[in-house]
């Protein structure tokens, strides 16, 4: 809350010191923007490049930002759309389908760091839009209505993508909670 208020004050001072306010926003939100891109591309360098483009665009549009909430919304929106556009343009999407993904270990404890890696690999195999929907839902904690607005998609499409992606991931992951294992 304190951080949010401080940022609000920083935004209000933009006329006086745009650079300082921009730097504060950059330092506060760099992990959010970078993580959206990183989980989408599963590539550190590509994620940093995209995050940098997003922040440069933010600087150009700084005067349009009206509040700290607007800033977060703007960053998520621009980052997610740029990720999808860039992946489609550059054909960065991996040619790995969920059916081709390797099977997980038969017994996989929920805390195993390998599970994280495996989930990232499975996620990278999803198509661009469903992948971003899953990221916005589980990284950013947005609800389907917010995701639909952000990606300019019908709510029903977002829900459908989400359900299908989760079903595929769950099936492939073969979750190994003790009571569910053999």
């Amino acid at each position: 809350m304190t951080s949010s208020l401080a940022q609000q004050a920083a935004i209000q001072r933009t006329a006086e010191d745009t650079d300082r306010a921009f730097e504060a926003a950059l330092r506060e939100h760099q992990s959010m923007v970078f993580s959206v891109a990183y989980h989408f591309f599963e590539d550190h360098a590509a994620a940093e490049e995209l995050a940098q483009e997003v922040f440069l665009e933010l600087y150009r549009h700084w005067r349009e930002i009206q509040s700290s909430e607007h800033l977060v919304h703007w960053l998520r929106k621009v980052a997610s759309r740029r990720c999808i556009d860039q992946a489609r343009r550059r054909k960065l999407r991996r040619h790995l389908s969920l059916d081709d993904a390797p099977e997980p270990f038969s017994l996989m404890p929920a805390t195993d760091p390998l599970v994280k890696r495996y989930i990232e690999q499975l996620l990278a195999a999803l198509a661009e839009a469903p992948r971003m929907i899953v990221i916005l839902r589980y990284q950013e904690g947005l609800d389907p209505a917010e995701i639909a607005e952000m990606l300019e998609m019908p709510l029903a499409t977002v829900k459908s993508h989400l359900q299908r992606s989760l079903a595929l991931l769950r099936k492939k992951l073969a979750f190994a909670a003790p009571e569910e294992t053999i």
């Binding site: 993580s35 940093e48 940098q52 922040f55 996620l123 990221i135 589980y138 979750f175």
Partner: protein, 106 residues
Amino acid sequence: MTDFEDQLRRALERRDPSPDFAARVLAQVSNRHKPRAQSTWFDWRPWTAAAVAASLLIAATGLDLDRRERITREQGEEARAQLIQALSITSTQLNKIHKKVQGALR
């Protein structure tokens, strides 16, 4: 939230970019987006110099044209005076010849 969703959320936790990421972005901002007042001044200088040069050229051309016109006018006036003098001399001579011819006929 189910175990599966919780696992997904943990796998998608935020992570930090490289430690120098913010510094690199700020450097890009100052390189790309700062107004370049000095370069604007340099852009205008050749235009200003060209305008001054063009003005001087036009003024010099105008002065030269004026001088040439004055010389031509003076030369014309001098030629006219010489022509009038020549015609006057010729007229005097013709009068003298005419008188001599008239005297001889009588």
